[in-house]
Amino acid sequence: MKYLRNVATLKLDAERCIGCGVCSTVCPHAVFDIIGKKARIVDKDSCMECGACARNCPACAITVKSGVGCAAGIIAGMLRGTEPACDEGCCG
């Protein structure tokens, strides 16, 4: 199953990448592959913007605007004027 095309905010700066491979280890959707000692985004549309790759990249080569892909969370955030956040409910 795949979600909407061309919306993920994921970006990789290949210049900075040191090829440690952590991004491909932590990604739950196999978005990265390590090709020739460098990370490469091979399936950007599968990115769910969880932020695991960016947080664990020791070279700060990855940026992604992470957050919850949750309609109820976005509505709650709008009503409260905060960032989207899940309350109890979806987080089961």
């Binding site: 599968s46 957050g67 919850v68 109820a72």
Partner: protein, 343 residues
Amino acid sequence: MKKKYITGSIETKGGEIPTVSTSIDRMDKWGAFKARCSIGRMRYTIRPGLYAAGNPDQDSIVLVSANYKLSFDVLRSSLHGIDAWILVLDTKGINVWCAAGKGTFGTDEIVNRIEQTRLKEIIGHRKLIVPQLGAPGVAAHEVKKHSGFTVIYGPVRASDILSFLENGMVATAEMRKVNFSMRDRSVLVPVEFVMGFKHLVLASVVFFLLAGLHKGGYSTQVALTAGSRSTLILLLAFLTGTIMVPMLLPWLPGRSFSLKGLIAGLILIVVLGVSGFAESNIIESLAWILIVTAISSFTAMNFTGASTYTSLSGVKKEMRIAVPLQITASLTGVTLWIIGRFV
């Protein structure tokens, strides 16, 4: 009260550590069922700290978990036959993945919990196995810098832990991936259902009260017959969005959840029409088409939060288009329905 899953304790250099059972009993299952249905799930926590499974010593592995009892139960029950330490973080009773997203399952909490449990005195090595789904909150290189511990990311599913260990602590590509099977989706349905149900009850009451209106004034008799039928249609639309869409997710056309919900709602309309349940009056039929599709589309859209593949940018994009349409459809639908009472 004594916790049933705690079976005893062992003496260590860092103090007495409780041992836990690696099997799940009836009480655990009942608690899990209640938690899934949103009954007191926020109190379904265990005390953060260090626990022992089997008879671990200073060379045994350390697995990190959340203090949400469901996460903890799944982990301990997958440790049958091995000796291990379980380091339970304080995630305020929230599961690993969601807590990682909020940052409560995170670098600071790991570093602090290592200190508080005197883990360095209890074990000789400096390795932690962290569930992969905790990675959004944990920066492995920061943990190393602040505590000296190396984070090894374990498999996504606790049930793969034994194979992971046998495989020399290397997760296969399959163990790294999040799936979203029929079974995964079905356990999430009750929560969505319970959350939406109170709105459904409220809407039904309003429809019941308004249903009595007709050309000749107000009739309780009409309110009862038209009201029960309205409630039934509302309920069916709600069930379509909260149960049918999640179950048929891969087979419903479209990528956005609101579109899948809209299509499922149209299927329901056709079924209602064919079964002779449709209104005789054209205005009221039109009203129901709008109301049913708005409800099924909206409730289906809410399942994005339970899914494992939607992104923030994607849901925002979907909502920018869908929410105005859902609001317009439901308001127009209700207006038409009221007008329909008088023609």
